[in-house]
């Protein structure tokens, strides 16, 4: 029994569409992401991310074959993506993205019928915390944490009745700013830390991808796709 789409609440279709749009975006900027990781890391970040999102797309297509009524809560696409990233994606970044998706899924699953900005804020905050517990990076270490923490803060700062699209827009802007701020940093965590000063002048690809993730909820934010 399809429910009326309410712009304040996330639905199965809206979270699925978000992820599919992120998959397309990632694909289109793959060469740029690869170039960034080549200059500051081992060059596999672009492949890791697009490979992972291609897997997510396949998993969502399988789900979409089911009748709409069976597709369930807006948490399902997020949980599906989390499983793919946690299980099948390589590199340091793959499972870390999985942790973020897992926390988003869990927050949404807690209130599936009325999930919105509040749950996105809670999930992103929990995701950032999990990633920091596991990866032990602080803001300023030139990792995706530099984008994720400001994004979580931006989401938390939104009024609870902000439309998710609006809230995620603000998160994307904050994340992009955080990602750009990594440009002049020396890496202190992750593989890029071994390349020392080589990484200076290059923004962190993982942080850029976080910004892209938040930006992908809304097609209009494609401006962000013009990565430096």
């Amino acid at each position: 029994m399809p429910t009326t789409p309410d712009p304040h609440h996330l639905t199965y279709d809206s979270t699925a569409a978000w992820l599919l749009r992120f998959a397309a975006t990632a694909e289109s900027v793959e060469p740029e992401l690869t170039a960034l990781d080549q200059r500051a890391g081992d060059g596999d970040f672009g492949t890791n991310l697009t490979g992972g999102m291609a897997g997510v797309r396949r998993a969502l297509e399988t789900l979409s074959d089911a009748p709409a009524a069976d597709r369930g809560s807006p948490a399902v696409p997020l949980a599906t993506a989390a499983r793919v990233f946690l299980d099948d994606v390589g590199g340091t970044s793959g499972p870390l993205f999985g942790l973020l998706l897992q926390e988003l899924a869990a927050a949404v699953a807690a209130n599936p019928a009325t999930a919105g900005t509040r749950e996105l804020a809670a999930g992103t905050t929990a995701g950032a915390a999990a990633i920091q517990r596991v990866g032990e990076a602080e803001v300023g270490d030139k990792t995706l944490v530099d984008a994720l923490v400001p994004a979580a803060r931006a989401l938390t700062a939104c009024a609870q009745d902000t439309e998710p699209g609006q809230a995620l827009h603000r998160a994307a802007v904050a994340a992009h700013q955080g990602a750009r701020s990594t440009t002049d940093l020396r890496a202190r965590r992750g593989r890029a830390s071994y390349t020392g000063d080589h990484a200076r002048g290059v923004p962190d690809p993982g942080a850029m991808a976080i910004a892209l993730l938040f930006a992908s909820y809304d097609d209009a934010l494609s401006a962000l796709n013009h990565l430096p």
Partner: protein, 350 residues
Amino acid sequence: MSASFNRSLSHLVIKELTTMPRYFADSPESIVPDALAGFAAAHADLVSHHPDHGYLRARGGSPERRVGLVSGGGSGHEPLHAGFVGAGMLDAACPGRIFASPHNRQIFEASRAVAGPDGVLHIVKNYTGDRINFGIAAERLAHEHIPCARVLVDDDLATDSEDIAVGRRGTGATLIVEKILGAAADEGRGLDELTALGAEVTRRARSLAVASAAHTAPGSGSPAFELPDGVLEFGVGIHGERADGTTPAVPLTRLVTAMTERLLAALPDGSRRVLALVNGLGATTSLELYGIHHAFTKALEGSGVTLDRSLTGTFVSALDMRGFSLSLLATDDELLRLWDAPARTPAWPR
């Protein structure tokens, strides 16, 4: 050898040369999976292998256990960890590729499979990759409401420095932690108690290693690094990495005495009783290891500490590196009791 003997080899034509001179394998990719298949078949009475999820699990074990013990890490350190899966030690081990951390999925699945009513304890050697992957598995377990805690083993004295932000590496003492926690888990202790015990064992254990020749890199078939004659790498880890320091190749007794002094100085103040582990890094001969045992025993006697227990052999290796590590654990009656408890695993020597 007779002509007929050589003739009989003529069907081994040169067409299909291996890409890995020196390593006995079909291909670089097959080393670990084939070894796991062989290991599981060879020890089918003690362990089972889950090829989909890539972990080894103990068959049987104590019904008292309330907490599953899971360890793992890069392959190339055999018999660690797989050889210590079994009754009285680990419930599961997760092997990664050679010198590479296992995937969080292996750890997650293994942990789910062996978690007891009180959850699961991860025994993790202190390496960034291992910390991250065990950490991710722990996050996933939390989402499934499976209690999970960690013991981080960081015994390597060579990396004990304020300059090293990531802390001391985990090396030989991992075996000691696995044995003692295994025995304690068999007594039905809970997760918090085991975690505290693991931290205490780690606090009381230090190791130091030296190498006289690098391991053979599986890909190239040549030594991972060249050491000039008469020089030892002092303070190596277990990944064939070079140490920051070298030392002249002095006679063994002097070398071991110097290492012993450093180890003793690093134990908690007032430690007067020890357990000593002499561990080969791979290609060190048994003759040398027992000669080292002899020198270690003499050095400890000379320092006036009591040698409560010892163990000598190849337990935590770095492929075929020529070298050895010495570990000391500051003991007490309770730790000795746990050390002495029976265990039945593919590589536990008692």
